[in-house]
Amino acid sequence: MQVTLLTIMEVILMPIVAFIIGLFMVLMMRKLAARLQRRVGPPLFQPLFDIVKLYGKQTQISHGMIHDIGIIMAVGGYVAAEALLPVPGMDGIAAKGGLITLAYLTMVPSLGLALGVGQCANPNGSIGISRALTSMLAYDIPFIIVIFGVAYQFSSTNLVDIIATQQAGGFSTWGISEMPVLAVAGLFAMHASLGKQPFEIYIAPAEIATGPMVEMGGKFLGGLFVMQSFQLYTASVLYVSLFLGGGENWITFLLKSFGVLAIPVVIAYLFPRYRTDDLVRLVWKWPVMLALIGIAFVMN
């Protein structure tokens, strides 16, 4: 019983931590972008301001119940996913889910969002979703190969085990030093999954008016901002857990997660975007090839 209670506490705490870290990740992303463009960039609490403002809108419009539920699922799915992602000192229910579950659980928010957007009856939104799902199909293939490689390498799908194994021998047993090729492919896939340039065809503001977000105002958009911070957090922490030995303590954990996230973000703002079919072609070619080579090394 004690354990259950503790687990529940962790499950409650982990999303809160994730949200806070996620907000800073959003900030970091925007700051980096600004720096790259030789701007000052937003102030420290800008992500929070945005969210509070959006929730504080006086009039809000909704296109129906599914529109609402979409946002709920988008946020809720990530809240749940965070409980599966171990952080230093807290494992949550990572042992009861594991890597595959996490990979699939992170689809729940996207699909919830997709449902909500569909309900809006806005063609831009639908086009956006169609593109988003297409790019999910594109980047999930290398991603899933990477997951297989890691799970096979550590012969476990339990993230706690995977992290423990990596930490056991220091840097030399980290995923990145044992499977460098897979790590590169994983980074690529992670970048694509973030939906930043050059893989943001489904947002394409000038073309389809931010796609899925086209009808989202007020707290709907606020929910999506929350989701974004969770998304950045999940992606980077998952990568850290798979390849960088997770967090020995909070300092290294934060360093690693922010560091990992910085890479795609820096790359992102140097690029325009790919067309959908180009995106698919690119992602199915390079990261998949890398991942397969990586797998070949792992399987030996």
Partner: protein
């Protein structure tokens, strides 16, 4: 043209009642502060003024440091920037767009054209005074105003928002009949936007004595129904 000119009439300013709960007050102030520090703008590039916005956003002047970001749809935006002359056809879209924005929403008229028609003041096809059709919070005059001026204007707006003074959007709900009358005068009596302003005003208790009137009656007589699709079992 409509009988009354509202452009200078202040909104029936219900002073924000200080609530007894100090925490609620703090919360309200926090929200107002956040509103002022996070302004998503939709620049409706009707004319030449639009060209001055990119410099305002990019590295030279960097609006983002003030929390101002461009957005692409009215649903997401707080500020509507009308950057130049508004032809009658464009005006329809401007009104549609304005009505689709979520309140609190602010309108900034950039360039002289939005103030009085500017160099198009003789044109038959141009709406001269923007605030006869939608309430405008702030004009930034000039032909065209430089980015510094734009940012200066935005900062003024920020200050007004912070103190809850930028309430022109309430005017639209409270005097909807007036605005609708002007719009009908220009577009004919069949004029209708997809947004149900009256319903919105009722839902959010933003009605004033002048929300409904003769023009809204005309509207009701010609209106295609706009009730949301209810979920039916």
């Amino acid at each position: 043209m409509s009988n009354t000119d509202l452009s200078n009439i202040e909104v029936n300013q219900k002073p924000v009642a200080k609530r007894s709960n100090p925490f609620a007050n703090v919360f309200n102030e926090l929200v107002s502060f956040c509103r002022s520090r996070s302004m998503f703008m939709l620049h409706y590039c009707t004319g030449c003024g639009a060209i001055e916005l990119p410099p305002a956003m990019t590295s030279r002047f960097d609006m983002e440091r003030l929390g101002i970001q461009p957005m692409v749809t009215p649903r997401q935006a707080d500020i509507l920037l009308i950057t130049g002359y508004v032809s009658i056809k464009t005006l329809k879209r401007v009104i549609l767009t304005y009505e689709q924005m979520g309140a609190p929403k602010y309108v900034i008229g950039i360039c002289s054209c939005t103030v009085n028609g500017g160099m198009y003041w003789q044109s038959y096809a141009t709406a001269k005074k923007l605030d006869e059709y939608i309430p405008v919070d702030l004009y930034i005059a000039g032909c065209m105003p430089r980015p510094e001026a734009v940012i200066e204007g935005l900062q003024q707006l920020m200050a007004k928002i912070k103190t809850d003074e930028a309430n022109s959007w309430k005017k639209y709900y409270e005097h909807y009949d007036y605005y609708l009358g002007n719009q009908q005068h220009l577009f004919g009596n069949n004029w209708q936007t997809p947004t149900d302003i009256i319903g919105e005003a009722k839902t959010y208790q933003l009605e004033g004595p002048n929300t409904l009137g003769e023009h809204t009656k005309i509207l009701e007589s010609v209106q295609r129904p706009l009730e949301p699709l209810e979920m039916k079992l």
